[in-house]
């Protein structure tokens, strides 16, 4: 999941490799700590010795089942979703040159939400590879939204227009929200309740299959992210000056758009549209390491994983035995932070 940021050695910044290593260690330690610690706590107390006791068959070992079926997949799902959303946030902010952009700005989440709503309301039973209809439909919805936004942004001109991208995305968000209301009209109350709950985000995946299914998509996206930091640094000066410094602006923008969309779509299919991760994490990281994308991008992925795993641990323990939706926790932390960011300068 880690990317090595900009691997190109640049003469003017001979210390970037060293800084990258220090950053990765500094952000990696809390991430690993969060992932190791999270499965140890929960609404019930489990005995770790019993969890690892091989003499008891797994079908009789409740502690082991709680650890391996309930908590571990959930923690890993949190790490995957957190890393994907945070990194996608960095890329979208760089691409759109807008500090308030999030992975959901361009309509991906509402496309995904529309897919999930349809699957829940009409109780679709399609499914393969251990995946149920809801994650499949939500991923299909995000792909549809991405395709529409991209088609619009290249329709009227050569290259990619980020302003059309932004406007089309925001408009599509509104349009999909209207379609969601339309679908909701046909839902009964139990279905409405479940769709609303889906929108608040839920990492209780109860098996490794959803993670295994999303992992290739996320890894593909991260592979593309690894090629982006230098281009994103130059794009922050504006597309024209970036072009004069020897990068293929349109190609970089296209890579950024599709990779960040892929990461977002994969993340939402696993955990629902968990808000604010994609904006809080990148900004906190920038406060700590500066604005060089070679550091911000990998550090955000690591910190995003740790942050969401921590939020989810809070969500499932704070009012146990029942739990708070993880999206509520991230929103409670993220909303005020977002406002602070807005008035800071």
């Amino acid at each position: 999941m880690n990317t090595t940021g900009g691997t190109t050695f640049q003469g003017r910044r001979p210390d970037i490799r060293r800084r990258l290593i220090i950053t990765m260690i500094a952000f990696g330690i809390p991430t690993v700590a969060a992932i190791v610690a999270a499965p140890l706590v929960g609404s019930t107390t489990i005995d770790l010795r019993r969890v690892l006791d091989r003499s008891v068959p797994i079908s009789e070992n409740v502690d082991a089942q709680i650890f391996f079926i309930a908590r571990l997949p959930r923690t890993l799902a949190g790490a995957l979703v957190g890393a994907s959303l945070a990194a996608a946030g960095v890329v979208f902010q760089g691409l759109l040159r807008n500090p308030l952009a999030t992975p959901f700005t361009l309509g991906i989440s509402s496309g995904a939400a529309l897919g999930a709503m349809l699957a829940i309301t009409f109780d679709w039973t399609i499914g393969f590879a251990g995946l149920s209809a809801v994650p499949i439909a939500s991923f299909a919805g995000s792909v549809g939204a991405v395709a529409i936004v991209y088609a619009l942004s290249v329709a009227r001109q050569r290259g990619l227009s980020t302003s059309v991208l932004l406007l089309a995305g925001v408009t599509l968000n509104a349009f999909f929200s209207a379609l969601i209301l339309f679908v909701q009209y046909f839902a009964d109350f139990a279905e409405t309740f479940r769709t609303l709950r889906w929108l608040m985000g839920d990492l209780d995946v109860s098996s490794f299959q959803p993670i295994v299914a999303a992992l290739p998509l996320a890894l593909g996206a991260f592979g593309l992210f690894a090629t982006l930091p230098r281009a994103l640094n130059l794009l922050s000066l504006g597309p024209d000056s970036a072009g004069t410094r020897g990068i293929d602006v349109t190609r970089a923008q296209r890579t950024a758009f599709f990779s960040a969309s892929l990461a977002t779509g994969a993340a939402v299919s696993v955990g629902g549209p968990i808000g604010f991760i994609g904006i809080i994490v990148p900004h906190l990281v920038r406060l700590l390491v500066g604005s060089d994308h070679r550091l911000v991008l990998p550090a955000s992925a690591l910190f995003g994983a740790a942050f969401l795993v921590a939020c989810d641990t809070l969500a499932r323990t704070v009012i146990s035995p029942v739990e708070l939706p993880v999206g509520v926790i991230t929103a409670l932390l993220g909303g005020p932070f977002f406002l602070w960011l807005l008035v800071r300068r």
């Binding site: 409740v62 809801v134 309740f193």
Partner: protein
């Protein structure tokens, strides 16, 4: 997600999970109503059960039972009552849900009587039937229906008494073919009461809410001995596959003894005059030997 859709959802939830007992509205009945509109499926069923069906001139958009409702005009649902159509049908009584405040205000302004209702406990169903009977001038018929229900429920109680009460997880919503988005009955409300009457102990008795989002960890920890799912949309040929998804949680007694049941009966989640039938189907599921 737009604020508006969230508001709508929240309103829907409030309606579904509101817990308070039924109450007749304060308006003074002068004559017994002859043109009734019912927006609430459970109460529509009650109106038919006490013999006032012929007086209905309109029903809500979610009404499906009894089959007579098919021929009646639809006047919207809980969230979208069509006031214009309601007024055009010239009703002298409109049965509304307790939280439909806008509609209630409009009816008041138009001088139309109303009977307001909210979901509550199992005993609340019989209370509502009796209150409705008084309101519709059919107190005797309503009392017969309510007493009959009470007798049938206590007969069920009698049949299952003394038998081992399985710790039961009662699911009323779940994603198809996955252990995600599981909503189960909490320790209050008519569904919980039905389970208790039918000889099961709710695994979430201690949670004082009508619904619980049951996470994998919570289900593993509560270790239900039986799992009953009320899922009307599951088709007969999908039941085996839907039961099989639980096998992941192999430490659950319910999984080990294969006591996982998917009930598709449409009467199950309706707090109306079919509650005895619904309770009986839960009781037969948990205690088949008691009904031989």
């Amino acid at each position: 997600m737009s604020i508006r859709s969230l508001c709508l959802c929240v309103a829907a939830l409030t309606l579904f999970f509101a817990r308070s007992s039924p109450s007749a509205s304060s308006s003074q009945p002068v004559n017994h109503p002859k043109r009734i509109i019912s927006l609430i499926p459970a109460v529509t069923e009650m109106v038919y059960a006490i013999g006032a069906g012929p007086q209905l001139v309109g029903v809500g958009s979610f009404d499906t039972y009894p089959s007579e409702v098919a021929s009646l005009p639809r006047v919207g649902g809980l969230l979208d009552p069509d006031v214009e159509r309601i007024l055009a049908l010239k009703p002298d009584l409109v049965i509304v849900y307790g939280t439909q405040n806008d509609l209630r205000l409009q009816l008041e302004r138009a001088g139309i009587n109303q009977f307001s209702y909210k979901h509550g406990s199992l005993a609340g169903v019989m209370e509502t039937i009796r209150a409705l009977g008084i309101r519709l001038g059919r107190a005797e018929g309503a009392d017969r229906v309510a007493t009959d229900l009470e007798n049938r429920l206590s007969a069920i109680r009698g049949k299952v008494s003394g038998r081992v009460r399985p710790k039961t997880l009662l699911v009323f919503g779940r994603d198809a073919l996955a252990l995600r988005g599981i909503f189960a009955s909490g320790g209050i409300g008519f569904i919980h009461d039905m389970l208790t009457t039918a000889g099961g102990d709710n695994v979430f008795t201690d949670v004082t809410r009508e619904s619980v989002q049951a996470t994998t960890e919570l289900i593993l920890q509560r270790a239900p001995e039986a799992i009953i799912e009320m899922r009307q949309s599951v088709k007969a040929d999908e039941i085996a596959a839907e039961r099989a998804v639980w096998s992941t949680l192999s430490s659950l007694p319910a999984v080990r003894t294969a006591r996982i049941y998917i009930l598709t009966d449409s009467s199950l989640p309706v707090p109306g005059p079919r509650v005895a039938q619904a309770t009986e189907s839960i009781a037969k599921t948990l205690h088949p030997e008691a009904f031989r």
